[in-house]
Amino acid sequence: MLNTSQQSHQGYKEHIVPETANTPILSVDNLSVEFDGHRVIEDLSFTVEAGKTLAIVGESGSGKSVTSQSIMRLAEGVGAHYPSGHIWFESESFGTIDLLKAPLSTIRKVRGKDIAMIFQEPMTSLNPVYTIGDQICESLTLHKQISQDAARKEAVELLKMVRLPDASEMLDRYPHQLSGGMRQRVMIAMALACRPKILIADEPTTALDVTIQAQILAILKELQKELNMAVIFITHDMGVVAEVADDVVVMWQGKKVEQGPVTTIFTESKHPYTQALLSAVPKLGTMEGQPYPKRFPITVVENNEPTVVGEECIQNTADYESEPLLSVRNLVTRFDTKKNFFGKATHRVHAVEQVSFDIFKGETLALVGESGSGKSTIGRTIQQLQKATSGDISFNGKSFDKLSKSERKKLRQEIQYIFQDPLASLDPRKTIGFSIAEPIRTHNLIQGEGNIQKRVTELLERVGLTKDHANRYPHQFSGGQRQRICIARALASNPKLIIADEALSALDVSIQAQIINLFMELQEEHGISYLFISHDMAVVEKMSHRVAVLYLGQVAELGSRQQVLETPSHPYTKRLLSAVPVADPFVQRDFSKIEGEIPSPVRMVGDEPMILTQQEIAPGHFIAQS
């Protein structure tokens, strides 16, 4: 059922740079960067060798992106100053130059030609009104002074190099006609157009699905070998680091805290921050043989000393004896996308097709799938942010269709929704005290201003913030604190079910671990059920009781956590699991299983998708039969 296309691999062998092993081609020397008097990077030094990958790891605010922008001299545009340091670069045309002191005219010649960069968002880095071919040819003619025809030929070669099928046809397509993974490959092709000596990849796979991420990482690795290129890989994901890096620089609060070969960093890290970072990384498979999700103690850095917080605790909170809290039966949600001249729909997105599941009291059900699998749409339909096309949802034994208007409003108190991006889901013009009190006021849960304020303080303290925070605005908090605020807001109305839509994806791993524990503590205290929507298998393993894997709007596999993750039976589940990066540099993964992309859920009207039948292969373990 997977749309795996055979992709021809044509190596690119003409321009291989001769081996220059072990001589650094870029060395950063005591670099400091200041923004208006604030040091964001202090005394940073590292070297990059040809043919090697250096990973710069750190959490948000650690200065890793500023480092890459300083190498490209892009940081000045946003107000950076360099009080000290050098960035020495071995350039073919200019000899050894200091990138920090070189005139901008020289830098412009180095940029794109000798040092190229790819960014996180392939969608926004391509100009939507030009074809892929136009954009690749532009950078070719700019740096190489070759004719249009030659450029076009070269562009085809480049697209073949990044394993894009039908390369010559691809040239005439527009960015919106490509998927996210294809766009990122085009970006890589453009970056490689002039055979750069250094490729800076700034979180290149963060916005992509895991299977696509695996494909992109594999391509980058192969191309690096072919072109003997140095790669500076900036990421927050330790799994990706273990996969691609030869050397690692760990950054924390603008300083380099540790540096070394990847195996040393993973096995004998010395700095407490690195240890804390590694301990916080969720590793798939660590809970094998455990029937219940579990809270783990986490290591946090306090006063430069690693401290262990929390205790191990089995999360046996689910109550399977009573009736399910929420049951979804044959849910179908479709959207019209294209209309004909008379306004009649011709194409539809089949976001959700015949999905059924139950959630019990105190249980966490994880919905897993890649983009386009319909997992968010299910959550939004339950929260009544989206109308179902057909099917039935009942909460506490009562069907949504039979609810009166006031009961519907009550439902919005009992079911709460937490969004992926905590900054976007808080009104920027309201204090967080207002935002947290809003559900209480809306549903008249507590009378009297003083009592409401007391409750807000209580909620803030419960999620680890203080009373004084109530008068601040969302932008004054860090990402982790904001997600805590969103959780406090969800808790304010004493919900029975919380839908967490990728609520952890935007957070740093150390924060993520803390929020996971907070979620589980709250479940134990209040018996809350969670519908946990995620693409991250490792997180799902840590905190869910049951797992449903979605593929193109249908349930591919549903069962207890152990059943689905330890004995995956559907090919898609297996593929998804094998694509998860493993945070262990000694494990070599086989990428050959992960080919192709998920087909589009957009269909012509009348062209209904095949509904798969579910088969129970073990008690409570269902898989879809095709």
């Binding site: 208006d36 929704y417 969004f419 920027p428 809003e438």
Partner: protein, 283 residues
């Protein structure tokens, strides 16, 4: 860190903006309000003192116009009409336009179609044609002029607000308010309105100036007040014929408009920035 820098710069700048804006607008309004007491009979025609240059005669500090009237007196008392027209018409158009824009952007569907088709008809009609039709049916006068300006300008605000609502509506914080069960009215006025008021304030300050000038053309068409009553727009129009020989006739009322608009712009910027806790709009 970046934010700290901006907001610290901002607070200095902000207060300067506020002080200047407040002083300018406040003193102009005060002068205009007190004009009756300061210049009693200042509008008198004195043909023996025609077109006196400014600062040449202590009785006529800013000179006189072709009918020998004191320009300073006329500028200050002319503000009464101009400011009334400018402020009231803009206020009316903002209230009507913002409400219509909020409704059509938020509810979409039926209301959107109705409001926006109205707006299209409104935009398709030339202003002068509308004005003449209006006079023919209802007649002139200050109130009618303000009503006409409101009718012809609410569309701008409605379209602006509708556009912002359409983009804000899909933002997560609006959806999360909906998910909590916040009522439509509260979403509209507590969440949407504060987030889109910035551009509306900018358009308001621009339109005040525009309407002060429009008042003179409407007076010319016979819709406004008695043409002999001084107003800034009217004085500007009258002075046009003498611009080569007697610049002061049109320069001083022009200066009055300029200072008013400058003051309002400063106040508007300050208001917009102080309503935005992130301080992001000021860069």
């Amino acid at each position: 860190m970046l934010f700290n820098r901006f907001s610290s710069n901002l607070s200095n700048y902000k207060s300067l903006e506020f002080i200047l804006g407040f002083l300018l607008t406040g003193s102009i309004c005060l002068l205009v309000l007190l004009s009756d007491f300061i210049f009693q009979g200042g509008d008198k025609i004195n043909l023996s003192a025609r077109l006196l240059e400014p600062f040449s005669n202590p009785d006529y500090l800013l000179g006189t116009d072709p009918l020998g009237r004191d320009i300073m007196a006329r500028v200050i008392s002319g503000g009464k009409i101009s400011l009334q027209v400018g402020f009231l018409s803009v206020a009316g158009a903002v209230v009507l336009g913002v409400i219509m824009g909020l409704i059509s952007g938020y509810y979409r569907g039926f209301w959107d179609v109705i409001v926006m088709r109205f707006a299209d008809v409104q935009l398709a009609m030339p202003f002068i044609l509308l004005a003449i039709t209006f006079i023919a049916i209802i007649g002139g006068g200050l109130t009618n002029m303000i009503i006409l300006l409101i009718i012809s300008q609410w569309v701008q605000y409605a379209r602006l607000v509708r556009g912002s609502v359409l983009s804000l509506r899909d933002r997560e914080f609006i959806q999360s308010a909906e998910a909590i069960g916040v009522s439509h009215l509260n979403i509209l006025f507590r969440h949407l309105l504060p987030n889109l008021i910035g551009p509306v304030i900018v358009l308001m300050t621009l339109n005040v100036a525009n309407n002060i000038l429009l008042e003179s053309s409407l007076t010319f068409l016979g819709l406004g007040v008695d043409p002999l009553t001084p107003s800034w727009g009217g004085m500007l129009a009258d002075g046009r014929t003498y611009i080569q020989t007697a610049w002061w006739v049109s320069v001083f009322p022009g200066l009055a408009i300029l200072l008013t608009v400058l003051g309002l712009n400063l106040l508007g910027d300050w208001l917009r920035d102080s309503l935005d806790p992130t301080g992001r709009t000021s860069k």
